[in-house]
Every structure is written in structure tokens, then in C-alpha cells.
């Protein structure tokens, strides 16, 4: 494949692969960011519930 790339006159048309690559990079980073936010929110709720239960026990 590389040889055929070398034999051609201009650069290979690989724009679609570049787009796919950056879609993966930004997509995965965005999903991870959202997961951090969701977990943070859920833990905050859990914390409030646990503190409430503990307050009742005391």
C-alpha cells in the first residue's frame, strides 16, 4: 500500500481516516468527561442520603 502511495503524484486522499481518528479522540474524551460529571452527581446524591440516614440513627 505504501509503495502505491509513493508512486502517486500528490498526497493520498486519506481525509476520511483523519476525520474518523479525531472523531474517536474527541468522542472518547467527551464520553469520559460526561461519565465524570454523572458519577460526581450520583455520588453527591448518595452522600446526602447517607448523611440523612446517619443523622436519623443518631
Amino acid at each position: 500500500m505504501l509503495f502505491s502511495l509513493l508512486l502517486q503524484e500528490g498526497p493520498a486522499n486519506t481525509t476520511n481516516y483523519m476525520i474518523a481518528g479525531y472523531a474517536v479522540i474527541f468522542g472518547v474524551m467527551l464520553i469520559y468527561l460526561i461519565s465524570l460529571l454523572v458519577r460526581q452527581r450520583n455520588l453527591q446524591k448518595d452522600l446526602e442520603v447517607m448523611e440523612e440516614i446517619q443523622g436519623d440513627q443518631e
Binding site: P11, A12, T14, M18, Y22, V24, M29, Y32, L43, M50
Partner: protein, 232 residues
């Protein structure tokens, strides 16, 4: 609710600004590679993501060592945060490498030493998360996690040097690589600047996410402690 430190807000803003500049440089500042075309632009963030992965796993090993010495669970939280971020970025590294390989090597995947060691490293740290899931006692989990992270970190230099020690088709852009490597290119000064800037940006992304993930881990630990106390 624990308030967000001012320094973290500044780090958030700086990271976003750096990412925007790095993205601009990748698409508009760096020239198109003469043979491979646009897909070569994946290289800038592909390598930077691999760098974050390796940085994270070494960080987890250091946190593991400190935990075993001090027996303070905050180091377990640090170690877990590092591993999680490392997995995310190593995954990006492996997948983008595969996307780059399709037009250049004419295959999505080959069991080349670099690709194999990177995948094994990813699996090692996925197993770290599974191991932790299986242990209920927090101190035991932290101890096992620390030892695992230290042993697992051996995969980091192995992966890094695999493309330099073994016969490989994986290109090495910095330093001299295997003459059999396929897809190598010489970086122009604009490419080098873009590459260095991407590395800097991803280092900022790492520290920013790391800080956020440690805060999340502290909260999870707080909830777990309260839950255990309630169950007593």
C-alpha cells in the same frame, strides 16, 4: 458540597484553551504530509494520548509504592484515578493507531511488537479494575491494587522500547527506528512545533482530569465509609 478550588478552575480554562490551540495547529498550522496525506495528522494526538497513558500508569505505580509505605488510602484513590485516565487515553492511542494503519499498512491490525505490547498493557490495566471490583474490604483492595499497579507498570517501558528493541513496522519519529518500519516521515519544523504543543496540551489534560478524578474518588470513599458505618 465541597467547593471547587480556584486553581482547578484556572487549570480547566487553561486546558480548554490549549486544546483549542492544539486542534487549530493540527488542522491548519501543520502542513499536509507529502505521501500519507491528511491521516498523518492523527499522529499528533495519537502519540500525545499514548504519552498520557504511560504517564498515568507510572503515576499509579508511584502511588502504589507510597500507599504500601504509608498505608494511607488517599494514595489508593490517586492510583485508581491514574489507572482510569491511563486506560481512556491508551484506548484512544490504540484505536487511532489502527485507523492510521488502515490506509498506510493496508490493514486495521497486525501483531507487531509495539501494537501487541500496547494492547497487553491496556488489558493488564483493565484487569486491575476488575480485580478491584472483586474485593470488598477497602484496605485489602488498596493493598492488592498497589501491588498490581507496581507490577503492571513493567509493561510501560516494555511497550515504549518494544519498537526500538524488536523488529517492527511501527514507525519511530523521534530517534532512529527499524529500517523495516512502514509509514515513517521526517517532521518539518511546523510539524515538530505542533507535535510538541500537542504533548504539552495532553499533559495539561492529564493533570486536569487527574485532579477531577481524585476529587471524585475522595467522594466515593466518603460514601463508602458512611455506608460501612451505617451497616455496623
Amino acid at each position: 458540597m465541597e467547593s471547587k478550588p480556584r486553581l482547578l478552575t484556572i487549570l480547566d480554562i487553561a486546558t480548554v484553551v490549549l486544546l483549542l490551540i492544539a486542534t487549530y495547529m493540527v488542522f491548519f498550522y501543520a502542513p499536509q504530509e507529502a505521501v500519507m496525506g491528511d491521516v498523518q495528522r492523527v499522529f499528533y494526538f495519537h502519540v500525545a494520548a499514548g504519552w498520557v497513558g504511560m504517564l498515568s500508569f507510572m503515576g499509579a505505580a508511584i502511588a502504589g509504592i507510597v500507599y504500601l509505605i504509608k498505608k494511607d488510602r488517599k494514595w489508593d484513590i490517586v492510583g485508581l484515578a491514574a489507572v482510569e485516565i491511563g486506560i481512556v487515553f491508551l484506548f484512544i492511542n490504540v484505536v487511532t493507531g489502527s485507523i492510521w494503519a488502515r490506509p498506510i499498512w493496508n490493514t486495521w491490525w497486525t501483531w507487531d511488537p509495539r501494537l501487541t505490547t500496547a494492547t497487553v498493557m491496556l488489558l493488564i490495566y483493565l484487569a486491575y479494575l476488575m480485580l478491584r471490583q472483586g474485593i470488598e474490604d477497602p484496605d485489602r483492595r488498596a493493598r492488592f491494587g498497589a501491588v498490581y499497579a507496581i507490577i503492571g507498570s513493567l509493561s510501560v517501558p516494555l511497550t515504549y522500547f518494544s519498537a526500538r528493541i524488536f523488529r517492527t513496522i511501527h514507525p519511530i519519529v523521534i530517534g532512529s527506528g527499524d529500517p523495516n518500519a512502514s509509514g515513517s516521515f521526517d517532521m518539518t519544523p511546523l510539524m515538530t512545533r505542533t507535535f510538541m504543543f500537542s504533548l504539552l496540551t495532553f499533559t495539561f489534560i492529564f493533570f486536569d482530569l487527574f485532579w477531577h478524578r481524585i476529587r471524585l474518588g475522595r467522594k466515593a470513599d466518603q460514601v463508602e465509609q458512611l455506608r460501612l458505618k451505617t451497616m455496623e
